[in-house]
C-alpha cells in the first residue's frame, strides 16, 4: 500500500481484482457492484465486530486519513458525502466506518487508495460502511493528520496475536479431516495464509509471536516455497519490510487459488461457523479464489501448476485471443542461379516459388486465421540487402537436414577458454557467421566463426577515393588493415548480461548491469547509441526477428519495447512481481514473452502492451524461454531443472520434461520444430522429441475451460540424448540453417 504516495489509479483490471474478494465469494467473477451489495450480508459474521470496535483510535485515524486523502485529491463531493454520512461536523477529522467486513481495513482501505480517482466506488463503499455501523465523531480537529500511506497500509489488528497459532492449527485440523478429494485443493490455502498471518504479526510489532508462529508452521509448507520462506524468516521487524519490494507486491496483489466449488463451500461453511474467523477475513482480503465447477483437482495437478509467487493464473488472464501464427513471408523472385544442384526456377516463373523449403508453416495463399495481419504492428520494409539475405536463407534451407528421433543433429560446442567465469552472455547471428560474448569485465567481444575476418569500414577520407560504381563496392568499403579474427567493444561500465545480433547483421545490442542498453555497429565496431530507461541492471535483451524493435527486461520488474530510432521505450510491460530474467520475441514479432524470478512467464501483446497470458508452474526463477518455429508453443526452463511446454493458443501447460539436475540456461527448437535442445549448468545438452510432445494433446472443452491438465510422465521417452561436456556449462544454443546444433559455454574447471 505504499502505492498511495502518488495517489495513482491502478488499471481497471487491478481495481476489479482488488474489490472482488471482499464479496462472499460467490460472485467472484462478477463486477464491482456485486461486491458492494453482498458485502453487508456476507460480512454478517464480522459485522458484530464493527460496533464495539468502532471507537478505536486506529479506525478513527483511518477515517481521518481517508478524508484527508479525498481532500488532497480534490474529491470534494466525496469528502462532503463522507462527512455527511459519517455524521461529522465541518472540518472534523472523523472516523470512517470500517469496511463492512470489519477487519478488512487494510484491504478495503487499500482498495480505496487505488480507486482514489474512482469516486463512485468510494462513495458506495462509504455508504455501505455507513450502513454497517457508523461511529460518532470523536477526534478533535487539528490533530496531526495521520499519513495516509501509513494508516492505509496497516494490517489491522485482527485479534489477539497469541491466538493466531490456535486459528491456524484449527484450520489445519479441519483440512486434514475433510475428504481426500478436497484435501489437496484446500491445502493450497496454507501457504498464502501462513505468509499473510506472519506478515501481520510482524507488521503489528509482535515479534516474538511472529517468530513462534514461524517456527511452528513453516515446516508444513510445500518444499518449493522454501526460498520464499527463508526470505520471510529474515523479516522480523516492521522496518525490514519497507525495503523489500517483492514482499510489498505480495501483500498488495492477490494470491490466486483455483478451487472447485464443492471444496470451497466446505471451507466457507467451516470458517463462517466460527466466532473469530480472522482467517476468513484474511482470505477475503488477500486471496482471490477462482472457483470452477467440476471435479476437484488432484495433488499432482495442483503441484504442476503452482509454485509462483502469486499463486496461479486466473482463468480470465488466459482467455484473450493471441495471434500465434506466423507472418506471411514476402514473395521474392529468385534470380537465375547456376550453382544450385536442384532444378532452380528462373526469373519470370513466379509459380515455382519457394514453398519447397517449408517457409515455416506459412499457408502460402490463404490468410492463417491465427496469424496477425501484416500491418498489425508497423514493421520495417525489406531493403535490397534484406532480400538478398532472404534468398541466401532459402538456399540454405534447401540443404537443411530433417531431424527426427532417428536422425539427431550433430553438436558443435564453442568453448570459451580463459574466461575465468566471466562469460555472462552469448549470441550467434542467424546464419551462424559471428559469435558475440558479453563478459563480466564489461567488454563485448565479437568473433568470426567463418574464415572470413572482421573488418571495419574505411574512414570517410578513404571512402571518397573508392570507385562507387564498381561491382564489389561492398568489399571495397572495408578496410583491409583492420582485419582481425575478433574485435573487442568497450563502453559498458558493468557486466554485460544480455546480447543480441540484429537479423541483418548490422547491429549488436548489449545490455548491462549499468542499466543501459548499447547499440553497436558491426560495420565500424563502435557504439552508436546508449538507451537509458531502466535504472537497474538489465538482465536480458533481444532484437525482434524482423529487426528495428528490441525488448529488454531487468531488475526493475518491467520489460520495455524499444525501436532503434527512439531514445525512449515505445511500450512498457509491467506486471511481474520480481525481476525479469529473460525476454524473447515471438516469431511474428507481435508478442513478447518474459520470464521472471517470480516463477511465472507472461506473454505481452506489443500492440497494446497488455499481458495476454500468464503461465505458472515453475518452481524457480526462469532463465530460458524459446518459441517453437511455428509460433504455437513456448518452452521454458528454470532453476528447478525442468523444461515446461506451453500451448499459447489455449494457455495451457502441455508437457514437462524432467531430466536436468541444475538450472537450464538455454533452450532452442530446431529449425522445423522437431527437436528441442536444452543446455544447463549441469554441463549437459539434452535433446527432446518435440514432435511427439506436441502430438497428442487432449484439448477437450473441459481442459480448455478450466485449464486443468493431465500431464503424462513421459519425459524418459521424449529424451533422445544426453551429451555431457567436460565441465562446461552450456550458456547458449543455436541451430544453424542446416540444422547443425551449435552450443557455447565457458570452460569452468
Amino acid at each position: 500500500m505504499a502505492a498511495v504516495q502518488g495517489g495513482l489509479v491502478d488499471t481497471k483490471d487491478e481495481v476489479d481484482v482488488k474489490t472482488e474478494p471482499a464479496s462472499d465469494g460467490f460472485g467472484n467473477n462478477t463486477a464491482n457492484d456485486s461486491r458492494l451489495l453482498s458485502a453487508p450480508p456476507g460480512s454478517s459474521t464480522a459485522v458484530g465486530n464493527n460496533k464495539p470496535a468502532a471507537g478505536t483510535p486506529e479506525e478513527q485515524q483511518t477515517l481521518l486519513a481517508v478524508l484527508q486523502f479525498l481532500k488532497k485529491n480534490k474529491l470534494s463531493e466525496s469528502a462532503e458525502i463522507l462527512r455527511r454520512e459519517a455524521g461529522l461536523p465541518e472540518d472534523a477529522l472523523d472516523l470512517k466506518g470500517t469496511d463492512a467486513s470489519g477487519s478488512g481495513q487494510g484491504g478495503a482501505a487499500g482498495s480505496v487508495d487505488t480507486e482514489g480517482g474512482n469516486a463512485n466506488a468510494l462513495l458506495s463503499r462509504v455508504t455501505v460502511s455507513a450502513s454497517a455501523g457508523v461511529q460518532a465523531p470523536t477526534k478533535a480537529v487539528g490533530e496531526d493528520q495521520p499519513d495516509v500511506s501509513v494508516v492505509l497500509s496497516a494490517y489491522s489488528q485482527q485479534g489477539d496475536p497469541a491466538l493466531y497459532d490456535v486459528y491456524y492449527s484449527s484450520l489445519k485440523k479441519f483440512i486434514e479431516s475433510v475428504l481426500d478429494c478436497h484435501r489437496a485443493e484446500l491445502s493450497q490455502v496454507f501457504y498464502p495464509l501462513f505468509v499473510h498471518m506472519y506478515l501481520e504479526l510482524v507488521y503489528n510489532n509482535h515479534e516474538s509471536e511472529a517468530k513462534a508462529f514461524y517456527e511452528k508452521f513453516s515446516g508444513d509448507q510445500e518444499c518449493y516455497y522454501e526460498d520464499d520462506l527463508r526470505v520471510l524468516s529474515s523479516l522480523t521487524k516492521k522496518e525490514h519490510m519497507r525495503g523489500n519490494e517483492t514482499l510489498l507486491d505480495f501483500r498488495t496483489s492477490k494470491f490466486v487459488l483455483r478451487i472447485s466449488r464443492d471444496s470451497y463451500q466446505l471451507l466457507k461453511r467451516h470458517l463462517q461457523e466460527r466466532q473469530n474467523n480472522q482467517i476468513w477475513n484474511i482470505i477475503q482480503e488477500h486471496l482471490y479464489i477462482d472457483i470452477f465447477d467440476g471435479m476437484p483437482r488432484s495433488k499432482s495437478q495442483i503441484d504442476a501448476m503452482s509454485g509462483s509467487l502469486a499463486g496461479e493464473a486466473r482463468r480470465e488472464a488466459n482467455k484473450a485471443k493471441v495471434y500465434y501464427g506466423l507472418l506471411k513471408e514476402p514473395e521474392i523472385e529468385l534470380p537465375l542461379d547456376d550453382e544450385d544442384e536442384e532444378a532452380e526456377n528462373e526469373e519470370g516463373k513466379p509459380k515455382k516459388k519457394k514453398p519447397k523449403k517449408d517457409n515455416v508453416g506459412s499457408k502460402s495463399k490463404k490468410q492463417d486465421p491465427n496469424a496477425p495481419s501484416q500491418t498489425r504492428i508497423p514493421l520495417p520494409e525489406l531493403k535490397d540487402s534484406d532480400k538478398l539475405d532472404k534468398i541466401m536463407y532459402m538456399k540454405e534451407a534447401t540443404k537443411k537436414i530433417r531431424l527426427g528421433p532417428d536422425l539427431l543433429p550433430s553438436i558443435c560446442f564453442y568453448t570459451f577458454l580463459n574466461a575465468y567465469q566471466g562469460l555472462t552472455a552469448v549470441d550467434f547471428t542467424d546464419d551462424s557467421s559471428l559469435i558475440a560474448g558479453g563478459f563480466a569485465d564489461s567488454t563485448v567481444r565479437v568473433w568470426s566463426v567463418t574464415p572470413k575476418k572482421l573488418r571495419k569500414v574505411k574512414t570517410a577520407a578513404d571512402l571518397n577515393l573508392i570507385d562507387k560504381e564498381s561491382d564489389d563496392v561492398l568489399e571495397r568499403i572495408m578496410d583491409e588493415k583492420t582485419a582481425s579474427e575478433s574485435k573487442i567493444l568497450y563502453g559498458h561500465s558493468g557486466p554485460v548480461y544480455g546480447i543480441s545480433f540484429s537479423p541483418d547483421r548490422n547491429y549488436l545490442l548489449s545490455s548491462s548491469e549499468d542499466a543501459t542498453i548499447r547499440l553497436w555497429s558491426l560495420q565500424t565496431f563502435t557504439c552508436l547509441v546508449g538507451y537509458k530507461g531502466h535504472n537497474y541492471p538489465v538482465w536480458d535483451t533481444q532484437f525482434s526477428p524482423h529487426g528495428y524493435y528490441f525488448v529488454s527486461g531487468g531488475h526493475d520488474r518491467v520489460a520495455r519495447l524499444w525501436a532503434t530510432d527512439h531514445y525512449q521505450p515505445l511500450r512498457i510491460f509491467a506486471g511481474h512481481l520480481a525481476d525479469i530474467t529473460c525476454t524473447r520475441f515471438h516469431p511474428n514479432s507481435n508478442y513478447v514473452a518474459t520470464g521472471s524470478s517470480d516463477r511465472t512467464i507472461r506473454l505481452w501483446d506489443v500492440l497494446t502492451g497488455n499481458c495476454v497470458r500468464i503461465f505458472t508452474g515453475h518452481k524457480g526463477p526462469i532463465h530460458a524461454i524459446t518459441f517453437s518455429p511455428n509460433g504455437k508453443f513456448l518452452a521454458s526452463g528454470a532453476t528447478d531443472g525442468r523444461v515446461l511446454l506451453w500451448d499459447i493458443g489455449h494457455g495451457l501447460m502441455v508437457g514437462e520434461l524432467k531430466g536436468h539436475t541444475d538450472t537450464i540456461y538455454s533452450l532452442r527448437f530446431s529449425r522445423d520444430g522437431e527437436i528441442l535442445a536444452s543446455g544447463s549448468m549441469d554441463n549437459t545438452v539434452r535433446l527432446w522429441d518435440a514432435m511427439k510432445a506436441f502430438d497428442d494433446l487432449e484439448t477437450d472443452d473441459f481442459t480448455a475451460a478450466t485449464g486443468h491438465i493431465h500431464l503424462q510422465d513421459n519425459s524418459q521417452e521424449l529424451l533422445l540424448g544426453t551429451y555431457t561436456s567436460k565441465s562446461t556449462p552450456v550458456v547458449h544454443l543455436h541451430f544453424t540453417r542446416r540444422n547443425l546444433l551449435l552450443a557455447a559455454g565457458a570452460y569452468n574447471p
Partner: protein, 245 residues
C-alpha cells in the same frame, strides 16, 4: 575448513550469518567481501550520524541520528525499484500511444544525433597567440585539441568539418578567400564538455594579409588526437604546439 582458531571472530560471525540466511555454497573470498562491505557500511553510517549529531548540537550520537543516517543512505544508495502500481500506471499511459509508423528508406535508423554517441567527443581549444605583429590584433584561432578524456569508444562516424582544412596543407595560396569552419569553443567551457553540446562554430575568413608562413603553421598544426587510435581521419602532426591542458 581450517580450524576455527585461525579465523578471526568477525569472519566467524559472518560465516554464521551466511548459514542462517541459508547460503550454503560460496567461495571463500565471499566472507572477505562481505566483511569489507559491512565495515564500510557501518563506518559510513556512523560518520553520517556523527555529522547529524553535531548539526543538532548534541554531545553524543544517539539512536535518532543513526536512524536518520540509515534512512538517508537507503534513499541514496540502496534504492529499490518503484512500486508495482506506479509501474502499472506509467505503463498504462505509455502503452496508450500507438506504435509510430516507420519511415521507409531512411538509412540507419538511429535516434536524433543528440541522443546518439556518434558525435566526436573532443573539442578544439582556441589559443591566443601573436601571429603577425604587423597585422594588428587579429587573433588567429589556433586549432589544437583539448583534453580528451580517454574513451576508447570514440565514435568516429561524424566528420568534424575542420578536417577539410588539413587536406589543404601545402597549398597556402588556395587559402585565400576561402571559408573555413573553425570550432572555437567559448573560453568558459570546461574541458570536459560532453558531446551533445555543440561547440560554437564560426566561419573565419582568412585574410590574405595573414597568409604567410605562420598561417601554414595553423593548418599543419591541426593535431588530431582521439582516444582510440583507430580509423581516424586525421594524421598526427607536430606535438610541439599542443597546449597542456
Amino acid at each position: 575448513m581450517s580450524a576455527p582458531k585461525t579465523i578471526p571472530k568477525d569472519a566467524q560471525v559472518m560465516i554464521q550469518i551466511l548459514k542462517d540466511m541459508g547460503v550454503t555454497e560460496y567461495e571463500p573470498r565471499v566472507i572477505n567481501q562481505m566483511l569489507e562491505f559491512t565495515y564500510r557500511y557501518v563506518t559510513t553510517i556512523i560518520e553520517d550520524a556523527k555529522i547529524y549529531a553535531t548539526h543538532a548540537k548534541k554531545s553524543s550520537v544517539d539512536t535518532d541520528d543513526i536512524k536518520l543516517a540509515i534512512q538517508c543512505r537507503m534513499d541514496q544508495s540502496f534504492t529499490s525499484p518503484p512500486p508495482r502500481d506506479f509501474l502499472l500506471e506509467v505503463a498504462r499511459q505509455k502503452n496508450q500511444t500507438p506504435l509510430p509508423l516507420i519511415k521507409p528508406y531512411t538509412g540507419p535508423r538511429l535516434p536524433p544525433d543528440r541522443y546518439c554517441l556518434t558525435a566526436p567527443n573532443y573539442r578544439l581549444k582556441s589559443i591566443q597567440k601573436k601571429v603577425t605583429p604587423s597585422a594588428g590584433r587579429i587573433t588567429v584561432p589556433r586549432l589544437s585539441v583539448g583534453a580528451v578524456s580517454s574513451r576508447p569508444t570514440t565514435p568516429t562516424l561524424g566528420t568534424p568539418s575542420v578536417q577539410s582544412v588539413s587536406t589543404k596543407v601545402g597549398a597556402p595560396v588556395s587559402l585565400t578567400g576561402q571559408r573555413f569552419t573553425v570550432q572555437i569553443p567559448p573560453p568558459s567551457q570546461t574541458t570536459k564538455t560532453t558531446t551533445p553540446s555543440t561547440p560554437a562554430v564560426s566561419n573565419v575568413l582568412i585574410n590574405p594579409s595573414l597568409i604567410g608562413s605562420k598561417n601554414i603553421l595553423i593548418t599543419t598544426n591541426m593535431v588530431s588526437q582521439s582516444a582510440s587510435g583507430d580509423s581516424l581521419k586525421r594524421k598526427h602532426e607536430d606535438d610541439d604546439d599542443y597546449d597542456a591542458l
